[in-house]
Amino acid sequence: MKDIFTNLYNKVIGFFQAEKGDSSKVIASNRLKLVLMHDRTNLDTFTMQKMREQLIKVISKYIEIDQEALDLNLEGEGDAIALMLNIPVIRARTMEEIEAIEKAEEEEMAQKALEANEESKDDETENSSDDCENLDDDTENEENNENDESNDCEEQNESDKENTKADKKLKSKQPQN
């Protein structure tokens, strides 16, 4: 008996409530507002994605967040436009964790600086690389003989390999974006 009444009540209420949450009008209006916001600010999806990634990186340093559920959108009323960032927080990081991340970051920076240095070195040594190869052939017979020049050459080859690895990583990452 109770079920019948609640059913009837719901039907009556449903009939009189004209505003449906997912009516096509509401969908159209929301989609339009979003697209106009992007049109007006000239921010394309690629730039937004890039910004999103960098924001995630900075924020994750201090708090653990749900990266999938992070919501970054432009919203506006009238002429004013706001950047709305909605981040579901899992937990705050401890001081130790933050320090560890900072340390890792510093190391990464140092590594990058080193790589950049070596790259510029590569450019410099490009002209002399022919000589280096010749030297390599010469030293093959006397492996124990370690002079500075052949060392340089090996290092250079290694860093080249690293560079190509990094390139491959980048390439494999791109489609995911």
């Binding site: 209420i13 009189f16 409530q17 004209a18 505003e19 449906k20 009516s23 096509s24 009008k25 509401v26 159209a28 209006s29 989609r31 339009l32 507002k33 697209v35 106009l36 049109d39 007006r40 009238g78 002429d79």
Partner: protein, 270 residues
Amino acid sequence: MTGRVIVITSGKGGVGKTTTSANIGTALAKSGAKVVLIDTDIGLRNLDLLLGLENRIVYTLVDVVEERCKLKQALVKDKKNPNLCLLAAAQTRDKTAVSAEQLKEICEELQEDYDFILVDCPAGIEHGFQTAISGASEAIVVTTPEMSAVRDADRIIGLLEAKEEIKSYKLLVNRVRPNLIKANDMMSVDEVVDILSCNLIGVIPEDTGIITSTNRGEPIVNDENSLAGKAYKNVALRILGEEVPFLDIDEPHGVIDKIKHFFSKIKAKA
């Protein structure tokens, strides 16, 4: 006498620029003003059809620009209303046949003898649009309550804002279907106005009479019984400076609609 030059534009095609131009022009002429309609949709002219003047056109806008005739010779008088003239577009040429400077000169010349110069703009934002707005100081942006039309209208408004010569622009929401709005399947006029944040000059309901009036070559404002005709007449009155309330096509009419309206208001508050 310096007439007002008003461009009727939209960005998107098919929203009713030409119908709006024909009807506002006719309504203004009926009220006693001297009006020239200029069709700048070169290559795709249609304003002559809507006015029923297609058989009377001898010279076009391009003939005037290329000095094959005088401006006055190219103006075609309306069948019914001697206050209304049409300067037709050429059908065999393209938009590049007339430059912005040339149209501006023509508008300036017409301003001396006429109260209103209405420029019917082609769709798009390219050369044709830039030419059409060149002589105007006012604009009417036509849109419909559909996403694509509203988005294009927003783009047009941005371009009009960037143009110093355009002193004011107003929005005309065309092809409004009250039944769809009531069923929550179409954006309401208020929502469109809110999204575009632009002043409203008219709301025109969808009317099958538009099709038959186009068939006959007679603007719908001549039909006293048509709701769309009435709405266009009100737009003309607003252009003339009168304050006319907007036709109530969004408001609920029946008892059940009113109750629904009441409930939805409660829900909105909660």
